[in-house]
Symmetry: C2
Subunit: 359 residues, 2 copies
């Protein structure tokens, strides 16, 4: 526990070696498949971690807000896709960015395209957001007529360049088997290719396909049927990705070190300083129990394997309640640290805002 002596409050610990291995794995598959790797930086939101990607020849990135795009543009990235339906109220930021970098925006309505066509002052690339089954947002993939009309509208606007069609198969996060994830990938690609063919048949020439979820990008080996992949979560992974089979336990690159502040023998519960404002309220169900995080012990090189049958069972603003086995309960003292592996690393990292690497 020597590495952690200075840790006094909930602290995000990053295993850089694992993160680099996670990046290398996807980068290598993308290279072999001959597709562009445009990682989603919303997971780490860190200029420093962004630098690690440059070693893997990453040139363009994905973010989820214009503010994040501004941050990374300031840190030297000059080709950024904002993977969120273009928010026309942020026109000033779009114009500001489009002057400096290659800005790529998502649209899914004629109202938005019309507004951008009339108000953008510099050239911007435009992707049409397609819904291939997640049902969050995007134009339903088989609304071919609507997609074709939007494409024409984009092509006619002088400041807009049509890049292609983009989707996020977020329903893969609800898969429970690797086979299911592979099927979601095949289904996604099949639908996107049908859209592309229909657009070609109406006279559009250059149409790229961009896909983006971590489960599919982790499990599928060959992406040669698409042009671009945009996973984000894979850099750290988390308990949710472990549960659906996207990663192994040894791939999880972040844990939150949390001080033990109380123990309750009667119910074998340990109270940690680490609550909803640190971990987020994201949870998974496992064996009919709601789980807000899994538990490991600190080690000189990071953290141990996940302790079976130990988990965060409840969270309030600052408190976390850990269900402990006899063994964990017996050996844990007040003032110790427990390591919590997060359910959803993107939300946890967004909350924590600061990293400590093991080194």
């Amino acid at each position: 526990m020597d590495n952690f002596q200075d840790i006094v409050k909930p602290t995000l610990i990053l295993n850089k070696e694992r993160a680099l291995r996670n990046i290398e794995r996807i980068a290598s598959k993308a290279r072999k498949s001959g597709v562009r790797f445009r990682p989603h930086f919303k997971t780490h939101q860190s200029a420093e971690i962004g630098e690690w990607f440059k070693e893997f020849n990453v040139k363009g990135i994905t973010v989820s807000s214009l503010d994040m795009a501004i941050y990374f543009a300031k840190n030297g990235w000059n080709d950024i896709t904002v993977a969120f339906p273009a928010n026309i109220r942020e026109l000033k930021k779009m114009n500001h960015l489009a002057e400096q970098i290659q800005l790529n925006l998502l649209v899914e309505s004629k109202e938005t395209v019309q507004y951008l066509a009339q108000n953008l002052k510099s050239a911007v690339n435009i992707w049409i957001k397609i819904d291939t089954g997640y049902r969050r947002t995007g134009i339903q993939w088989d609304h071919f007529e609507e997609i074709a009309q939007l494409t024409k509208q984009i092509e006619q606007a002088s400041s807009l360049t049509f890049s292609g069609i983009l989707t996020h198969s977020g329903h893969s996060y609800k898969a429970v088997l690797k086979q299911e994830i592979k099927e979601i990938y095949s289904d996604t690609v099949s639908k996107m290719k049908q859209v592309k063919e229909r657009l070609i048949s109406t006279g559009t020439e250059r149409i790229e396909i961009s896909i983006g979820d971590t489960p599919c990008c982790s499990i599928v080996e060959d992406f040669s049927e698409v042009d671009e992949i945009r996973p984000g979560n894979f850099v750290f992974y988390d308990v949710m990705q472990l549960a659906i089979g996207s990663c192994s336990e040894e791939d999880i690159a972040v844990a939150i070190a949390c001080p033990v502040v109380a123990k309750h023998e009667d119910r074998h519960e340990i109270v940690i300083y680490g609550g909803a404002v640190h971990l987020s309220k994201d949870s998974i169900m496992e064996n009919r129990k709601r789980i807000f995080g899994k538990i490991a012990l600190p080690t000189p090189t990071g953290w141990s394997s996940i302790l079976p049958d130990c988990y965060v069972c409840a969270l309030s603003q600052e408190h976390g309640i850990v269900k402990a086995t006899d063994d964990l309960f017996g050996k844990t003292k007040i003032g110790d640290l427990l390591m919590v592996l997060p359910i959803h690393s993107c939300l946890t990292v967004d909350l924590m805002q600061e990293y400590h690497t093991i080194e």
Copy 2:
């Protein structure tokens, strides 16, 4: 909507008039009951809003972390209770604060008391955290022997002054009727008084009782059986408090203005820029539907009444999905703002970090 023209992204809007009325209501009940009003500042975490409380003769405050205590100490507060089990790893911060202000800490184990007794360099007030039924943390109220021993241990330590017994009846947040909340209050007070009597019988003289949840403090009129109340959420309230009857709709003092970025006619869903990183993933169930926020329209003076049958049905990192009625769907345009009333204002405000008042 003139007030909101400059709003381009999810923005926390505060109705100061309502917040002041909420503060006044509890302050006045406390005054009439002759008890100390020590509001919990974790809900707003703002020095500026903290100032508003001074007009109501508030001298001491409650916070949920030592970092928050340091922040408010810097802003002129000199009597602060950290309502979280004392985290012995943060000894340096405790000593730093105890030198400057009246610091009040919570304990619930002999290990923590021993550590504080040996390591604190300035005088600190100590409360014993009691569990009266919430089952989160604290010593079970009827473990009289354990409580008495801990009291003795505190009394014997030269740097520690025993203040009394403190509880948070957080189970009141799960109540569904006002009557239930009143019963929880009576039960809490009855248990705390039994603990106090037992401690008096073992020779302890000065024992205060501190209680703290917003539902009880909102619904109960007379607090004269306790010495101190510490509610926090009441300053803003939220949809959860409305659902359990702690407040009326006109008491809710915060809403998040969220830009509309997409519409889905087939399922009457509106996509807003406003996700888990803005609202938090806290939710309530209502008519078997999971609800992450309720919807109102912007008005020149803030926001309208809650729109019936409209609600946030799903959240991802930046996206919110709003289920809309025919009426709302029909009149909402891309680029409009919708006002989201949060489920749990404490978590939402923690995420948003910045306020805009209506004025």
